[in-house]
């Protein structure tokens, strides 16, 4: 018999991340590299294990190959377990034919059997698209105190951005009284982080109800949460005050990487009490040669730097040749940069080779300079100038 678990996490990792352009050509958004050695999903997975949640279902759909091989059986996050652990849950075929996951709620609905198997009291719904460090056990404590049916983690966002999120209003006790998914006129700047903690029975009930509604798009924020509010469920908002970033666009991905370079970054990666785990590539230590100059940067193992690196993030195995200047840039794993290259405000995707003398930056005057994105596995020939 399977031991009862208090809480099971369902991690939605099927996102396509269309606004990330080339970066998600070959992989799902949660697998996009971040922060010099991680992938986006590492943050949520590490949060789970650091919060004591050891049963995690990862729902995959879009281009899962790289994501699947990254996840493996969950070893880096200590989620390889006899009881529970990490389980990858792709769409599957049943007696009446197979179905793709139609929306976030539908994805979980199709895997209710997985949740039932573990018979948890609570189910945590997570998204693999966000960068943040959060102790879910505190949220669970709050959820129990409030005797809530569902608790939604919320964070204050700037008013001008509020219409990108699900926003809500609460009463003095934190109970949700209004909720609107991506409203044109935001009624609040408290945004849902896409982190929902449900009582298992309530979740099952409303997912079944939602599935029967032919007009539903089967989305948690768009359909299930409004329906529950309408029917008077006990719904509470749990305030989160730390760093949280939705890295849905090239600009926000670049920005989130740059945030790590602040003198006192809001997201601390070197906090030993809340480590972020990832797959270790067994690369040798980084070598800075006699001509190297590196400041305000993150550099990972396997890199060799002979040039100048300022305010940039260098992922595993990057080579920077002599006389080159890397500034305000994110250089993804195993990129080779030759001599006398200049890269500014750019993201260079995995395995690309940039030969000697290339210049990659937006040189147009007037408007704010654009972030330049160079696709993966490219070979940029000598002295090429890329400015858009």
């Amino acid at each position: 018999m399977v031991k009862e678990k208090e809480c099971v996490a369902m991690l939605l990792a099927g996102g396509e991340g269309r606004r990330l352009g080339f970066l998600t050509k070959e992989l799902a958004k949660p697998a996009v590299p971040f922060g010099g050695k991680y992938r986006i999903i590492d943050f949520t997975l590490s949060n789970c294990t650091n919060s004591g949640i050891y049963t995690v279902g990862v729902l995959t759909q879009y281009k899962p190959l790289i994501l699947n091989s990254h996840l493996g059986i969950g070893i880096p996050w200590d989620l390889d377990r006899k009881e529970g652990g990490l389980t990858i849950l792709p769409p599957f075929v049943q007696e009446k034919g197979g179905k793709w996951y139609r929306g976030t709620a539908n994805a979980v609905f199709q895997n209710l059997y997985f949740i039932e198997q573990h018979r948890p009291r609570y189910v945590l719904i997570l998204s693999g698209d966000h960068i943040y460090k959060m102790d879910y056990s505190l949220m669970l404590k709050y959820h129990k105190e409030k005797e809530a049916d569902v608790t939604i983690a919320v964070i204050e966002v700037p008013w001008k951005e509020a219409s990108r999120f699900g926003v809500l209003n609460t009463d003095g006790d934190g109970r949700i009284i209004q909720f609107a998914e991506k409203p044109k006129q935001p009624l609040s700047n408290l945004a849902s982080m896409g982190v929902y903690l449900f009582n298992r029975r309530i979740l099952g009930k409303y997912l079944k109800k939602d599935d029967k509604n032919p007009l539903s798009r089967n989305d948690f924020g768009g359909d299930v949460i409004p329906l529950m509010l309408h029917e008077g469920c006990r719904m509470y908002a749990y305030r989160f005050y730390g760093y949280w970033k939705d890295v849905g666009t090239v600009e926000s991905l670049w920005e989130a990487n740059m945030d790590l370079l602040e003198p006192e970054p809001a997201l601390k990666l070197d906090d030993h009490s809340w480590r972020i785990y990832t797959v270790n590539p067994s690369q040798p230590p980084q070598l800075l040669t006699a001509t190297a100059s590196v400041e305000q940067s993150l550099v990972s193992e396997g890199c060799t730097v002979a040039g100048t690196v300022r305010h940039s993030v260098l992922f595993t195995g990057v080579r920077v040749g002599e006389g080159s200047l890397i500034e305000d840039a994110v250089i993804m794993p195993y990129v080779r940069i030759g001599r006398n290259v200049q890269v500014k405000r750019a993201i260079i995707d995995e395995n690309t080779v940039i030969k000697d003398g290339c210049r990659i930056y937006d040189d147009r005057t007037g408007a704010a300079p654009q972030i330049i994105l160079v696709e993966e596995n490219m070979i940029i020939q000598e002295n090429t100038f890329i400015n858009s």
Binding site: G35, G36, K37, I75, P76, P263, L269, D270, R275, I276, Y277, T278, N280, S282, Q283, P284, P285, Q286, L287, L288, T289, A290, T291, A292, S293, V294, E295, Q296, S297, L298, V299, S300, E301, T304, V309, V313, L314, F315
Partner: protein, 371 residues
Amino acid sequence: MKDVMGVINVSSKSGDLLGALTGPRCIASVPFGSKYRLVDFVLSSMANSGMQNVAVFTREKYRSLMDHLGSGRSWDLSRKQDGLIILPPHTLDAPSLPDFDLNSFFAHRDYFDRSSQKTVVVAAANIVCNIAFKEAVRYHQEKGAEITVFYSERVAAAGGMPRLCLELDERGRVLAITEKEKQPENSSILLEIYILSKNLLLELAEKNLHNGGTDLLTGVIMPNLRRFKVYAYLLERYTAVIDTIELYYRHSMELLQREIWEELFFFPGLIHTKIKDEPPTRYLKGSSVTNSLLANGCIVGGTVENSILFRGVKVQPGAYIKDSIVMQKCEIGTGAVLNRVILDKDVCVSPGQTVSGTAELPLVAEKRKII
């Protein structure tokens, strides 16, 4: 390579070779090269060569070694069948048996008997190299050798440290092994890596028991070069034997040469080590780091030249590190100056302090010292 097993022998004679560095630990777990322990090189070579069964024979001070090796997962040796095994002294036989490597092998003969492999590679733990054992085993078989010993023409002649030099015939058979205080340039220096059949190894171990046992090299191979067909296999890649503090320092510093960094760490396979989950190293505004090797997890605000920093080292702004080796989690305060020193793990250098070694000998600060 399914039929070849590996034995890493952490010799009892290596107990205090590296002074303060081997105070709290055996030679196999001495930190080396910014993120590794010495044993990682031979062990990774064995695993990368496809060996599925590796035993690490230890005698003393092996707590840190066991912690480092764990289940062997980092080397892909956490297996249901075979995998990595650590063999400390056998309590039943050991007290009565003098401390020779063949006696340790004999004491653990059950392990050999239960292993299905027929060929054994025996290697010392203090050899820094990246070896394709497959080629060496093929050489051993092609020559019809009973014992194959490894040698290198690139091993550094340590000042005053005698080395065993080989004399070979044109087919590669070993004619003589002689100890030389001073070795001429490019001489063939024996490395403590041997290939032989498991049966021969066990037979030698048992046969020598009656006179108290002996070591494989000095007691069996060296006096019996006529009796056994002993061939020599040339290891052409970068090789370092770490058996004095001078050599430890010198070979560490060699890793700063880009050609050696490239040669040692990537081919024929990557060198694996215990995973620590450190974030990338963070360089602060005003930092200046040149000609240095750094592991992940460091925070560097000061100046670092010709030095090696291990995981999680903190260098405060205004600190100056030159020609030094700074191990895991050391903290170097503002205005502190390090020149030719080796700091063991968790050493804290207070702001403004100056610590220097001499041109002949780097200064070694032991684990957890506060300066």
